[in-house]
Symmetry: C2
Subunit: 398 residues, 2 copies
């Protein structure tokens, strides 16, 4: 079955090549555009960044890209010059199978840091990866599954955008469940579209959409070594680059789709039992609002009281208070799942048992902070903190 | 038995007045100087601060203080104007029993945020608190026990300082096991000394010592509403204020004693199985070094790999890389329990099993980062993150 939003002119594959010990888990993913595509990229801000990130930074933005190869199970990070050679080799292997130039291939890696890639397995994988490429939804799903690490399931989103040149399609996939910080994380995403874009528009649209989506989520505030978001726009759907209202509509749909995709990450946070949706309104600037939202969202004390469906709002007020953003407590309001709980320095009377039940009964818990400093606002999404997270992360490596 | 470092001219008491449900757990603590004492204070930087913090800020530094009253089990934070009146009443109750002025009493509170104090119990407690005051070590221990909340045990430290005017004594107590951030936390400390100090020297010495001790610890990076450190210096041991070399030696001993006291807090971090000691050397400034150390120390991924005795050093390198401090990766070195693990962007060969055993066998795990940016360094202490922490904090309030 051809999913209606799958873009034209792309093929996908995903299979197990032996990086993960479980043979049922795919670990090698390939996305190929049948024609040269405009490519844009946004990357981790971590100084300690992985070899594939260094490589992709050199290759984006551009207009002759043909493929994205991704391995999971090994991050190829902190691997020095040998790691750089290995990342280049991954691109060369794919290029050789497709008879294209290695510089036309982007590389993403995710998994354990500090171990070298088993290059024999990866070279063999490039052969099978190219042989099994297909343009249907099953192949897309295979590719989306093969980029996962600790995720419970694949994360995809897609849409169709109507333009004056006809429909263009957007299909996106992401991975990420831990080491997720507000400036990207062990988070990989590949965005494919058959829209025709200029490299400059592609890069600008991607940057803006990432700011509103992936840069608004966190699991534990840890910005990883490998974060990468790559957009491939192959122009199969329309002759001339999108412009004017078409471009605005396309950019808005990219943003909406990436928000849909990004929210799936904290919702699948390692061991998470709640998605936490935090809105701060009435700030004097967007960065101020975001700083308060992120400080609340990265507090283990806030996360754990939400795990316990405990309306222990003092922890939320306290986190807002140490965010480093000045505000007048007299204008401070706090709502939990829509119930006003703290107003102008005074606690409100509320039915704690009812709020606790509303928390227990919904996957998503809503925290809203109202200030009277201005009219700006920001919104972030994060996950709660459970014993499963700790068990999982204290038993990952050895 | 009179402990040798107990200062002269102080009396202590601690008993259960009914704020905690367990009648075995004391929750009302009193420290009284028999003469007027110089007083200094350092407080939380949280904008959302508790009523007793507002009160103490007005009353320090000063030179006529007589008492510190502390309740545990209720933070009297986010309680508005009624909370302010209650904090003042706590001071008035004690003042009335001692026939002194209410402004001579300092107040500290710790516990749940957002609930009003049961003032009837606290007024009754002031009577029994004053009646049971004594100058021996048992009374000191009673007072130190009565300020605890989730702590597993009391935290005390003391010493004698030899001066040209004879010996002076320092006795300190603290509480804190959770909500501990690098800029103080739900952390209370009372420092008593029979040294004679000027108010200016007392405040300067306290500020400097807190920067080197309590401001270098964290459990989960949450700066609480109630952090308070009060120093009472009653001058019972010497006629003239300490000065010159005496003052320098005294300040150094205050700092050493507070470091000893502060380290007991993350070591008793809620559910903690390891104390983590993080040193960053070779930075271009102390704030840079501290920023990297704190970013490593507040990473849940670092904490959990230490919980699991897992030398998963990539998480440490990655945390250093997103600390927001620029450094050259070529000059970056990382040691775990003394073993060099990552050097100049390349992983080192090391015996992971042996490092894991060394982590499992010691309460304290040492992380050292070496940079080549300069000659400045910083050191912080934190705790690991266990399932017990999550269980405990998701089941605290309701």
């Amino acid at each position: 079955m051809q999913e209606f939003w799958l873009p034209q002119g792309f093929r996908w594959s995903g299979h197990h090549c032996g990086l993960k010990s479980d043979p049922e888990k795919p670990d090698y993913s390939l996305i190929v555009s049948d024609r040269e595509a405009v490519v844009a990229g946004v990357y981790t801000q971590n100084l300690v960044c992985a070899a594939p990130v260094v490589l992709c930074r050199e290759r984006t933005p551009g207009k002759r890209a043909r493929a994205i190869v991704t391995n999971s199970g090994n991050a190829n990070a902190c691997t020095g010059s040998r790691g750089m050679n290995d990342a280049k080799q991954m691109a060369e292997d794919v290029a050789s199978q497709l008879s294209i130039d290695a510089s036309q291939v982007l590389v993403m890696s995710t998994g354990i840091i500090g171990e070298f890639l088993p290059m024999g397995k990866l070279t063999a994988a490039s052969l099978r990866g190219v042989e099994t490429l297909a343009s249907d939804i099953a192949a897309f799903d295979d590719a989306a599954n093969a980029i996962l690490t600790t995720d419970k399931g694949p994360k995809t989103a897609g849409c169709i955008v109507n333009t004056s040149q006809g429909d263009v399609r957007i299909a996106t996939m992401a991975k990420g469940a831990g080491m997720i910080g507000p400036n990207m994380a062990t988070m990989l995403a590949a965005i494919t579209t058959d829209a025709h874009l200029t490299p400059e528009d592609a890069q600008a649209i991607l940057k803006e959409a990432v700011d509103k989506s992936f840069n608004c989520i966190s699991v534990e505030g840890h910005t990883s070594t490998n974060d990468t978001v790559i957009l491939l726009a192959n122009g199969a759907a329309n002759e001339a680059p999108l412009s004017g209202e078409d471009l605005v509509r396309f950019a808005a749909e990219i943003e909406n789709t990436l928000i849909k995709l990004a929210k799936q990450i904290p919702d699948d946070g390692e061991g998470a039992t709640h998605l936490i949706d935090i809105v701060v309104k009435g700030a004097s600037s967007v960065p101020d609002a975001k700083q308060i939202a992120e400080t609340i969202g990265s507090s283990n004390l806030v996360k754990t009281c939400i795990t316990g469906n405990d309306p222990n709002w003092g922890r939320i007020a306290s986190a807002a208070g140490y965010a480093g953003v000045p505000f007048d407590i007299a204008g401070f309001k706090l709502w939990l799942n829509g119930v006003l709980i703290f107003d102008g320095g005074e606690p409100c009377e509320f039915d704690a048992a009812a709020v606790s039940i509303s928390m227990a009964e919904s996957r998503c818990v809503y925290i809203e902070v109202g200030l009277q400093e201005g009219t700006e606002e920001a919104r972030i999404w994060t996950s709660d903190l459970t014993t499963d997270y700790v068990v999982f992360n204290s038993d990952y490596h050895t």
